[in-house]
Symmetry: D2
Subunit: 256 residues, 4 copies
Amino acid sequence: MTKRVIIAGITGSMGQKCADLIESLTDFELAGVIAPDLTADCPAAKKLSSETKLFIDLKDLTLAADIWLDFTTPQAVFNNTKFALEHHYRPIIGTSGLTETQISKLQEIAAKEQMGGIIVPNFGLSAVLLMKFVQMAAQYFPDAEVIEMHHEDKLDAPSGTAAATAQLIAKSRLEKPLAPAAHVAARGADYEGVKVHSVRLPGYVAHEEVLFGGPGEALTIRQDSFDRASFMQGVKVALEHVSELSELVVGLDKIL
Amino acid sequence: MTKRVIIAGITGSMGQKCADLIESLTDFELAGVIAPDLTADCPAAKKLSSETKLFIDLKDLTLAADIWLDFTTPQAVFNNTKFALEHHYRPIIGTSGLTETQISKLQEIAAKEQMGGIIVPNFGLSAVLLMKFVQMAAQYFPDAEVIEMHHEDKLDAPSGTAAATAQLIAKSRLEKPLAPAAHVAARGADYEGVKVHSVRLPGYVAHEEVLFGGPGEALTIRQDSFDRASFMQGVKVALEHVSELSELVVGLDKIL
Amino acid sequence: MTKRVIIAGITGSMGQKCADLIESLTDFELAGVIAPDLTADCPAAKKLSSETKLFIDLKDLTLAADIWLDFTTPQAVFNNTKFALEHHYRPIIGTSGLTETQISKLQEIAAKEQMGGIIVPNFGLSAVLLMKFVQMAAQYFPDAEVIEMHHEDKLDAPSGTAAATAQLIAKSRLEKPLAPAAHVAARGADYEGVKVHSVRLPGYVAHEEVLFGGPGEALTIRQDSFDRASFMQGVKVALEHVSELSELVVGLDKIL
Amino acid sequence: MTKRVIIAGITGSMGQKCADLIESLTDFELAGVIAPDLTADCPAAKKLSSETKLFIDLKDLTLAADIWLDFTTPQAVFNNTKFALEHHYRPIIGTSGLTETQISKLQEIAAKEQMGGIIVPNFGLSAVLLMKFVQMAAQYFPDAEVIEMHHEDKLDAPSGTAAATAQLIAKSRLEKPLAPAAHVAARGADYEGVKVHSVRLPGYVAHEEVLFGGPGEALTIRQDSFDRASFMQGVKVALEHVSELSELVVGLDKIL
């Protein structure tokens, strides 16, 4: 049975890519789209099928649909998700900016409405799988280090993803690492004994590598993001599996 | 509670390393050892505790123990495993050479005796985790290639492990790969569309790398085996988890 | 002293990028540009300084200049290079399509005119340096293999560059490799004992890796081309060094 | 013509490996060996040919020979090298511990005696070639970072080699790097803008990787030392080329 999708944020770049994606899938159709700056003759609207309803305000939106795909703004995302849950559209939230408190509140609403959904900080499948694998590997290899590589313009170091990876590894370990603690510059940033190294070089895009070592062997997991095109694969996975969820979860790894 | 272990093949190199391992663990003790060429004053025997019983023939072996650790010979392994199952020692079989038919027969005996155990073709944790991860990754990345690298003396190509990895990937895919089939020399060996490339160079030991690619991103999983020391970590994992098994399984990944 | 440059093929994408490059350099100025489809109000022309002269035909071109930068077509490149040499503009030829015979003829003209210049099949500095380094390394490591990785749409395998790399390694070796010859599928394509492996995966762009192995050690050289932006660095190096050449050479490595 | 070699430090592990090496080469023969603890029936002496003369003290050593191969002690190496130069044995010095002042003094003696020779801090060819290549690459890629990986027992970080590599890169650059200076933990140790990251993991041996990045491309050079066996290739290169030297130089790269 074809699932009907609403895209919030259709005028943005991700919104439009999502519309193209849904167009290409046989099991999904685009029931409606919404954006405050949407007009019938803007480029985002013109390529939509005539079956797709257009909205500019939540209060006017009334439509039979299964899934709410959100790529809007930090300002709009909380109200949108609440609206989706209360109208029984399963939310897939790609918009960033929800606070811990907001997420808890939304999870309560989801529980009350008996609705599942997913908040996705990162749609890159290679990054999400890396996260999943390193947690498993850390159970057998307590010694691990993270190297992340980005273009020279990235200002923060380490990347949020690399810091999160190191923390997950630290939490997943069952034994203490063999490598002694060390606090000299060359050993990088320390997250409970998991070292993180940040490389900043022109030409690089966004790459993360996790090195595990044990007596006589090594295991390395690496992911490379070359292009945002990669996010669409993750959106597709979310569309296919969001209906299996019975609560509002955070992280694409929850449905992999 | 301390688990009591019997080592079959104590005079071999792996048998002795296993004895050292058990010595170093607080939850296990070496109840007995067996080898046809075992004598009380051979090096393997001399470093054992006086609590450990020595045997040279299965028919004399009678002992209270929990686990049977086997590093013997292709000729001995079937009878040893049968003996272990029938005497309710949970088998951990590191010896190679069991045929498919023999394994089926042993699994029947295990079922009849209501005994679990494990046959382990590869104790290297990094190799076993790689196998596990690539099966998961292949569900999201149908395009994959395997590169294995070994020292120049390795005669067969591809390695058995690399061929098995490619077959697992092919079986785990949910979609057809994007890369077109190609049958020119540079594209390597083909396992249902998964290409395998074998590198043979002096200096290298034993390494396997699996490359996954999808639109705009890549995921790479690599394992390096530098030294057989790595196998002991796998033996330890098997010792710790064999008691949780309710049947005779093949592959360390079954308990990871 | 400022060097004056003529760009042939200004209406093409590389021609325009070269114009931007010269604009950004203090030691070079754009004396003139030529293209058969050039008009004063086309985008390529409109952003040029008013000092730059426009031409659509070689026969009208008369101008004081030092360097001829050519990104035209296989049909035009021979006559253009001949014209440049005879008018004492040092040619930097980025256009492909010159035959061996044509190159020899142009080298004769260059010798007669006592002019240096350079024909550049690949402006990517990382690729050119890799070529240079592998020839040096092969003198000490006769065992080497090449792995090239490209997007899934690349039809030929191995890439021309990888085949050329393997041939250069074979030619540079001083000793026979230790690894025995092998002719099974997994060992890839063979160039006088140097194996070449081609990986084709979505997400990948253009990458080449050369693995050297010797007793107890390994040396690996890898280059990644993510974007044609990289070629501009090579054009800059050519502009800076073409004046030092006393003959017409092939390959950017000749001036590195 | 066969070159005659004296090995100083024959009773050490490197001394013995060098004796085996010379035995295997057709163009070299072992004229004599020296070590303070050498006796005619020690293992090191027993496998030598009867043509090889044994010495325990420099003052007794008088012998026609071409090359002095030194793997002794920091205490002995200065006097040994001086002796070699004054007796016109070309020195190949693998012993560490010479101070800058001592090296200068030895270079003066070499000049006076019109003798060439070589002091070699690292015989690993992959490491020496890496050093050579990174100096060339840095001229075209001012942005570079060094990652060195060693076993968990290595106490200092970064390794001396990695620090030296970073300094050579900094000195070889012709332009300022694009990546901004950054002084947070994750960015590692800084050598004039070249970042060095040290990884310490069990299983790893000794590895160094240099990453260069430029607009749209990357170049990576990596060396792996798995085993001291690799040093013998470097000794062979030194034996073959030391006769071409007209002064006392430092570093195997001087003859590559």
